[in-house]
Symmetry: C2
C-alpha cells in the first residue's frame, strides 16, 4: 500500500471523525516512510494525538522519517518517558540527524533525557564536524574477535543484533584496530567450528572519520558495499556508515553541484520549506556579482560605438553570438565538472580534455558558422530583407567559430584549474564562464569586424 | 590498500619484469574494484596475461568492475571454458550489464557458451526495455514459503545462498505472488520453530518490471532498503534490484539531469571514453536550435534600430540585462527541476512555487535595480565619464526589475508545465529559458525606453 492523495483523504476522514481504531489499523499496514508522509501533511494539533496511537514497534522508525518540523513539535509534546522511549527505538545516527535540525533547548532536553550510555555515544558522534564521515556514522555495529568460532559469532549477533543498525557485515578487530570484515552470508555458509579469522576478508575499504562525506559516497559507489567502516588516524574503528545514509549524501552532493552550476549558494532545506528570504539570500550575491561583472561587456561595446554607428546591422547579432558562446562554454564546463565529481576525469587528464574540446569546438563552430551564413542569406536577407552585406555576414560567421572555440577551451579548463588551486570546480560553471565568454565574444567580434569591414 | 599511481607503477614493474608470482600476491590483497582499475590502465596485450594469474575467487568479481573495453578484449581472448567459468562466477545482473555494452557477435557467443539455465534467465532479463526496472534486476534471490519454520528457512539459505546476490532479504511468496519479506536479521533473532509467515513484514514496497528505473532509485532513497522486489502486473515476483545498482542509477539520473540542464543530449559513456564525434553529436543540435531561436532577439533589436541610434548608450546595457535575466531564470528553473526530480515539489504545488518566486524575484529585482542605479552614477558616470542621463539610468534599472520578475516566473513555471504535458522538465532549463527571457528582456527594455525617454 503506497501513500497517495486518496489514502491521505481516507485517513484524514478517520482523524476528523475520531475513528482512531480504524486509523491505527491502516497506519500499521503502512511502511514507516509512508506513515511519516501522512504526519507531515497533518495539521499541528493532530500530530501528537495520532502519533500516540501508532503501534510501539512502528513509532520510532516513523519518527525518523518525519520532517524536522513535525519532529520538533512531537518532542515538545513528549514527556520525558516518551522521549526516552523514542530515542531508544531509533538508530543513533538517526538521532544525530534529528539533533542537528533542532534548536539548542530541544537538543539539551534530548541529551538530558537519554540514558547515560546513549548520551555518551551521542556526544561522541556530535563532536565530528558537519559534512565529515563521523557526522553521518553510527556506533551501532557488531564487532568480532578473529579467534571466535562461527557459532560464537552467531551467538553474539543474536545477543546484540536487535540494537544494531546492520548485522550483515561484522567488523573483526584486534585491540580496537580494524583487521577485517566478515559477512553474515559467509558466516551462514561456513562450518560452525570454523574461526572468524579464517573466513574474514582483510582488504577492507575504510574511511577516516574526518574525511568529507562526499568521499564516503564515492567509496560506496566504487566498492558496492552495504556499510563502510569509519576509522580514526590509528586505524581503530570508531563507527560505520550504512548505505541508506550514503544514498542521501549522493543525492545531496548532486543537488549541491546542480545549485552551484546555476549560480545558487547550496542549502540543505527543500525548496518548499525554504522561506522567500532564504531563497533570496541563496541567489542575490551571485546575481549582483554577475551583474557587476557585466560592466566589462558594456565598456567593450561603448568603446566600439563608432563601429556600431557605421555598421548598425552588427548590433542585432550581439545576443546570438554571446548566447551561443555561453551555451557552448556551459556544455563544456558542466561536462567537465560532473566528470571531476564522479572521478571519471582526474587532474592529470587536462591535456586529454583540452585536445578533445578543441576538436569538438572546431566541429561545432564550423557547422554553426555555415548554418548561420546560410540562415542570414535566406531568412534575414531574402525573407526579411535586412540587407546584410556578405562582408557583414562573413564577420558574424567567422566570429562564431572563434567564439565557440574559446568558449569550449575556457569552459573545459577553468573547472580543472579551479580544482588544482583548491576551489570547487562547480562554481566555475555556466554563469561565471558565460561572463568571461561574453567579454571575449565581443572583443573577437569587434576585432574581426575591424579587419573584415576595414572600419 | 587503495589503488594509487604509486601502486600502479609498482605493479607495472612486476608485469614488465614478468615477476608474476609477486604480482599475483599483491593483486590478491586488493579489493576487486581496485584490481579492476589496474586492468583498465594496462596495455591491451598484457590484460589477458595478467588476468589469468588472478586467484579464481577474485576473477569474476574483478571482471564485473572492469571497463567494457577491457571486458570485450578479455572475452575475445577466452576459450569457451574460461568464458563459461566467468559467467558462472558473476551475478546475473552484472552479466546483463556486460552484454548491454558488447557488440552483437560477442553477445551471441556469451549466450551460446552459458549453460542452458543461465541462458534462459539471461534471455528473460534481456527482454525488458532499456532503463526499465527489469533491465537492472537480477533473478538471484531467495524465496521462502510462509509455512516453513525459521530453521528450514536457514537450511534453504545455506543451500542456495552461495549463488544469490543477496540473502539478507528473503521474499515470501504464495503461488509466485509476493506476500511479504523477511530479513535474515529477523530470522536470526527469532525462535527456530517460529513460522516464516509469523515474522514476515507484509507492507512491502515493490516496483513493476516495466517501470522506469528512476522510480526504482526513488523507492530506494525513500524506503532505505537493501533490495527492492520487482513484480509483474499480477504481483508475481520476477526479480530484485539490489542497492548497489540503485546507487548507479541515482548517479546516472543526476548526471543526465545535469547534462540536460546544460543543453547536452545525455549519454551513458564517461567523457574520456567518448569520441569527439559523439560529444559533438550530443551538443550540436542544441547549439543550432538555440542559435536559430536567437534570430528573434536579433529581429527585436533591428526593429528598434531608430531608438538605439537616438540613444546609443542603451546598447551597452543589452548584455547585462540579458545576462541577468538568464541567470535569474536559470536559478529558478534549476531549483524547480531538481525539486521535481527529488519529488520535493509536486504538480499540485505550482501556485506555492509561483508565489514564492514572485516574492523572491521582487526582492532580487529591487536590490539589483538600486545597486545598478548607484553603479551607473558612480562607476559609469563619475569614474568613466560615460554621461548616462538619469532617465537612461532609470530605464535600465526599471527594466532590471521587470526582467528579473518575468525570468523567475517563467523559469519556475515552465518546468512544471513541461512535466504536466509529459515532457522532461530538465530540458526546460537555463539555455532554453534564457532564449525566452532574452526576447522578453529586449521587448521590456525597448518598451520602457519608449515610455521613459519618450522616443
Amino acid at each position: 500500500m503506497e501513500f497517495t492523495n486518496e489514502l491521505f483523504d481516507e485517513l484524514y476522514e478517520f482523524v476528523e471523525t475520531k475513528q482512531l481504531k480504524k486509523l491505527r489499523e491502516i497506519l500499521s499496514e503502512l511502511n514507516p516512510a509512508d506513515a511519516a508522509l501522512f504526519f507531515d501533511r497533518l495539521e499541528e494539533k493532530n500530530i501528537p494525538i495520532v502519533f500516540r496511537i501508532l503501534p510501539k514497534d512502528l513509532a520510532g522508525e516513523t519518527f525518523s522519517y518525519m520532517d524536522p518540523e513535525s519532529q520538533e513539535l512531537l518532542i515538545r509534546s513528549f514527556n520525558d518517558n516518551e522521549l526516552r522511549q523514542i530515542i531508544n527505538d531509533m538508530y543513533l545516527d538517526d538521532v544525530v540527524d534529528v539533533i542537528e535540525e533542532m534548536p539548542a533547548n530541544v537538543v539539551a532536553r534530548i541529551l538530558q533525557t537519554a540514558n547515560q550510555n546513549t548520551r555518551q555515544q551521542l556526544n561522541e558522534l556530535l563532536k565530528y564536524p558537519e559534512d565529515s564521515a563521523g557526522s553521518i556514522m553510527t556506533v551501532e555495529y557488531v564487532s568480532l574477535n578473529k579467534n571466535k568460532t562461527v557459532a560464537e559469532a552467531f551467538q553474539k549477533i543474536r545477543r546484540e543484533g536487535i540494537d544494531k543498525e546492520t548485522v550483515y557485515t561484522c567488523y573483526v578487530t584486534e585491540k580496537r584496530k580494524l583487521i577485517g570484515t566478515v559477512s553474515v552470508k559467509d558466516l551462514l555458509l561456513a562450518d560452525e567450528e570454523e574461526s572468524v579469522g579464517n573466513i574474514m576478508v582483510s582488504n577492507v575499504p575504510a574511511v577516516d572519520a574526518y574525511e568529507d562525506k562526499e568521499e564516503v559516497a564515492k567509496a560506496f559507489s566504487k566498492y558496492d558495499v552495504l556499510a563502510l567502516p569509519v576509522v580514526d588516524k590509528d586505524g581503530r574503528i570508531v563507527g560505520i556508515v550504512t548505505v541508506d545514509d550514503a544514498i542521501d549524501v549522493i543525492e545531496e552532493e548532486a543537488t549541491e553541484d546542480i545549485e552551484k552550476i546555476a549560480a545558487i549558494t547550496p542549502s540543505d532545506r527543500p525548496y518548499l520549506k525554504s522561506s522567500a528570504a532564504s531563497l533570496w539570500l541563496q541567489r542575490i550575491p551571485w546575481l549582483v556579482l554577475l551583474m557587476v561583472s557585466a560592466t566589462f561587456t558594456g565598456a567593450i561595446i561603448t568603446s566600439f560605438e563608432d563601429a556600431l554607428q557605421a555598421f548598425p546591422a552588427l548590433i542585432a547579432f550581439i545576443p546570438m553570438l554571446m548566447g551561443t558562446g555561453g551555451n557552448a562554454g556551459g556544455q563544456a564546463s558542466v561536462t567537465v565538472i560532473r566528470g571531476l565529481a564522479l572521478e571519471e576525469i582526474r587532474m592529470g587528464d587536462v591535456f586529454k580534455v583540452l585536445w578533445k574540446e578543441i576538436r569538438v569546438s572546431v566541429m561545432c563552430g564550423v557547422v554553426l558558422a555555415v548554418l548561420n551564413f546560410i540562415k542570414i542569406i535566406v531568412v534575414d536577407n531574402l525573407i526579411f530583407g535586412s540587407g546584410i552585406t556578405t562582408l557583414e555576414n562573413l564577420t558574424v560567421s567567422l566570429t562564431l567559430v572563434v567564439v565557440v572555440f574559446s568558449a569550449k577551451v575556457i569552459g573545459s579548463t577553468l573547472p580543472i584549474g579551479a580544482k588544482r588551486i583548491g576551489l570547487d570546480p562547480a562554481v566555475m560553471a555556466s554563469p561565471l564562464i558565460t561572463t568571461v565568454v561574453d567579454a571575449i565574444s565581443l572583443i573577437v567580434y569587434f576585432a574581426i569586424a575591424t579587419q573584415v569591414l576595414t572600419i
